[in-house]
Amino acid sequence: MQILVGIKQILDPEIPASEFKVDPATNKPVPGRAKFVMDSYSEYALEVALQFKEKNPGTKIVAVCVGDKPADEVLRKALALQVDEVVRVWEDGWDDLDAHALAQILGRVAERIGGADLALVGRQSGDAERGLVGPMLAEELKAACITLATRVEAGGDNQITVRREAGGGFVKVEIRLPAVVTVTNDDSNVLRLPKVKDIMMASRKPITVLRAADLGLDPGALAPRLRLRSLFVPELAGDCELVEGESGSEQAAGLARRLRELKVV
């Protein structure tokens, strides 16, 4: 069983809204002091893969990231968490890849590593928030697709069972392999911390770097199907009416009174 985990490196989403700026010339955010980090939904996907491997020895995990050299950092983190192999794919001019292109690239990587029985990706990334790469990768791999999963377990013959969010609760479903599963957050899949010794070891492990030509990708097929016209920071209304008072109970009384006056309660 081979699991491909798609990992994305993004601008730290914890950057406060007040510090978030957009460069109107490029329609891209200005990083400022913010760091680039592993996307949190990639982390949940990686943890699901690691838990699957613990329960199913013999599973091989390959972490794949589409990104330039600085993305090595997130792959080193994956190596420190004991994934078996990491692959970084990059080509000059790939700064505006759309989800179609990313799905094609991941599909070719899957082929190159000898196939993926299961591909795990985040439900969406914390920057573009498209949520498209997983389902589109399912098309590339001719695989089944389940979104919003929190846990994956081995099932019967060539099958897995997936616990997924559904209508304010969960359902457990059984699906055939190959499959693409997109992962959402749950208290059961918060990414573990690597051991210090493993972080040291990870720095000596190899990162396979592939380019478009290695994957036989035609640059024309990767042309974006969407045009970003603009990116802007929305204004919040900022006309909040503050309820004053000498004490908490006075403020509470004032708030209740205003809610009644506004006919909200």
Partner: protein
Amino acid sequence: MATIAVYCRVDSGSLSRAALEALGAGRRLADKRGDRVVALVVGADVTGAAATAVQCGADAAYVVENPILAEYDGELCLSALRTAVDAAAPDVLLFGGDLAGREVAPRVGYQIGAAVVTEAVDLQVDGGDVVITRPVYGGKAMAVYSAASPKQVIVLRAKTQEPAAPDAGRSGEVHKVDWDAPAGVVAAKIVERIQETLGGVKLSDARVIVAGGRGLGGPEPFRELEELAQLLGGAVGATRAACDAGWVPPHMQVGQTGAIVAPDLYIAIGISGASQHLAGITGAKTVVAINKDPEAPIFRRATLGVVADYKAVLPALKQELAALLSR
């Protein structure tokens, strides 16, 4: 004349809420561009729903009816919908913000080589192009897109579009599309259902929501929020931080990646107002913020604000409201 197709899911014979929102948006877009709207109605018992789709703005309907489509399944829905898409040959395919929008829309879009945008909150027209606005970067920014390919798939964010209302005077043709699950298309087998109840009121439908965040400091204060919610006939929600900390279960999460809600009253307690949380309450009518940090971004979204430690306010607030409501 271009064709705008709207995916319409039928649940127990009726159009889903997502379908009504997408029909509303599709009709408004078509009126701006002079397009035709067709409903792609998929389900087990679609006759009434197809007629409703026409009354709700479609000029024609293509229906795929099959008993195995009674309950939504991604693989079956994809196969059935693709057949309807081939029959209707739309230029624009619209989805509401439901599970099919999440997992079927991207796959259909990929198959037909369309530009795909998810979480659209606004559709405009500029020189014939559909101009799509959607939040990105956890709601910190808005991105405006148009398609660079002739076909496009647009998934609308839930509760951002006025749902279509039926007009009994409208009429249109209904075309039946033959479809049966091809060999090799296998539905996911449901082995277990785990429904989590939220004190009786479903978060996404609640008219009043009392929500707590990191500022509550732990799981215990959520009991007090529960009391306030019960008093107001509402549900309790939480931020992603509170869910990730394990204080409350993840299905209570309100925000971009949790429940998208549009209550009449949203009371945010100990919530700083991260963009990703605010993105889940854009449809809330009155927002009340109780937070001790006057600089918290939640106050820029709130209608009424109380700058105070919630512990000093909440007990009195419950008494005051109980007194008001008993009058």
